[in-house]
């Protein structure tokens, strides 16, 4: 398998560039419906990267929840709020250029920091299984797990109560 590693990392880099490109299109394209499609590509690319990082369960969750559920919601909302086929409405505000400049500044700080930091990487990378993950969720992290379920329930009820039209 060792002689095969270069090909895997080439695929990884290609995937990273696809994700970046799709994300740039998502935040900059005027047509919001197409932005949603490119967001779907971004999320799928991220799921692919999870596969390469040996986090299979997270990858499946990413596809099931993000691509299957959240994207459907987003496209629904885009459609229900209408008028997106109108190309005359500007989609970005006056902060566009300042935001870009400031973010360039932030990256000018962050990237040298990343390059300088002494990362102590492992000799043999970790990998875990879905079964171990389940044990962690039901053992060590059972309290956050229950809290998250409660948050989900509240969000469910809240979303229904908010979106319902007043009779």
């Amino acid at each position: 398998m060792n002689s095969f590693a270069p090909l895997v990392s080439v695929v990884q880099y290609v995937l990273m560039f696809i994700v970046l490109g799709a994300a740039i299109v998502t935040v900059s394209i005027g047509n919001l419906f197409r932005a949603a499609i490119f967001l779907a590509f971004t999320l799928l690319g991220v799921a692919g990267l999870y596969f390469f990082l040996h986090a299979d369960f997270i990858a499946a969750m990413q596809i099931l929840i993000y691509v299957g559920a959240i994207m459907t919601l987003v496209i629904f909302a885009v459609m229900l709020t209408g008028k997106m086929q109108d190309p005359l409405v500007a989609q970005s505000n006056r902060q566009k250029i300042p935001a870009f400049i400031i973010l360039c500044g932030v990256s000018a700080f962050l990237i040298p920091t990343i390059l300088k930091a002494p990362w102590r990487t492992l000799a043999t990378p970790h990998a875990t299984t879905a079964a171990n993950l389940g044990r962690a969720l039901m053992g060590e992290f059972v309290f956050p797990f229950e809290i998250v379920s409660l948050v989900l329930l509240v969000a469910l009820i809240g979303a229904i109560a908010t979106a319902r039209s007043d009779e």
């Binding site: 499946a60 459907t72 496209i75 299984t129 879905a130």
Partner: protein, 380 residues
Amino acid sequence: MDQLFVNLKHSILIFAGNFLPEWAVILISILISVTAIAVFGPVTMMYLTLLERKFVGRIQNRFGPNRVGKWGLLQPLADGVKMLTKEDIVPKGADHFAHFLAPVAIVIPALLVFAVVPFGRNMVAVDLSIGILFFLALSSTTTIWIFVAAWASRNKFSLLGGLRSVAQMVSYEIPMVLSVVPVLMVVGSFSTVAIVEAQSGWNWFVLTPWGLIGFVLFFLTGVAEVNRTPFDLPEGESEIVAGFHTEYSGMKFALFYMAEFMNSFTISAIVSTVYLGGWQGPWLPGWLWLLIKSYALILVMMWFRGTLPRFRVDQLMGFAWKFLLPLALLNIFAAGVWLAFARPVNYLLSAIIVALALFILYFANRPDMPKKRVYRYAVE
């Protein structure tokens, strides 16, 4: 016989290994698996169209296609030529990019799920540790592309079909995932190969009380997921022209059709893997058993199409949320009881739970019938 295809691939690889480096052999191995799937998927789809037309024809007391070739065997090729040469029409107001993208993107998950179907002993393309979850996740992405196709067409019938499709698939996904949970509890693994191996020696999960219910649930929600009759509201011909693919013609339409048929094949194969013992079976080779079981389920789907009328939208939603979902939850409980007790008792207990659940849900879901009127003073 059982290992025919495995041995074939193996001998090709050994032959290639004589004069190629290691990485090239791995590459060839991947290429062989990919090619096998990429050929098997579309060919299955082509002949499923013929099978469907023949079978529904028989149900309706006619012959079905019988002009092209013996028994109409060349009909799929003729259809293919027709599809390829047909004019590709894109509506004027359509979003061209999305209109093109949707049919292409919908085929990809349909092909990818073939990777985790265990066609026989050692005959799975990749034995993912999350096999079943991979299948469920990928089949859920189909929704988006149907919706994109519907919205991009700028047609009210398309949009209606797309909305119906999203509502239906989101609702049926939940009981579908829950109906697999009992099997995952018993096997303790997501891997499709492990699930099949847990059913060796006639321990098919369909032969347990919770397995029977789970099998029916999984199959019904699977039929709903691939939008087939009686759940074909997204493309109901008599109501909304053709639903989300109203504005598609030629090869793009063929791609939608291909995705639908490949999905119905994979759903049958996965249902037989999870509940009907996969490739396990006496006498015949394993891959033949899997094909027999899947085609039996596909014929049941076609039988549905030939005999059942279409659901109404409210009935469809009520069926998913008020009947299938609670039944799936109670079924998980039954499987837990089955796991907790010893051999003869657990069958009895889980059978009682399942029977009670069915009974209660049936009575809770009875349609509200008006009382029979008694005419007291209008006798004569």
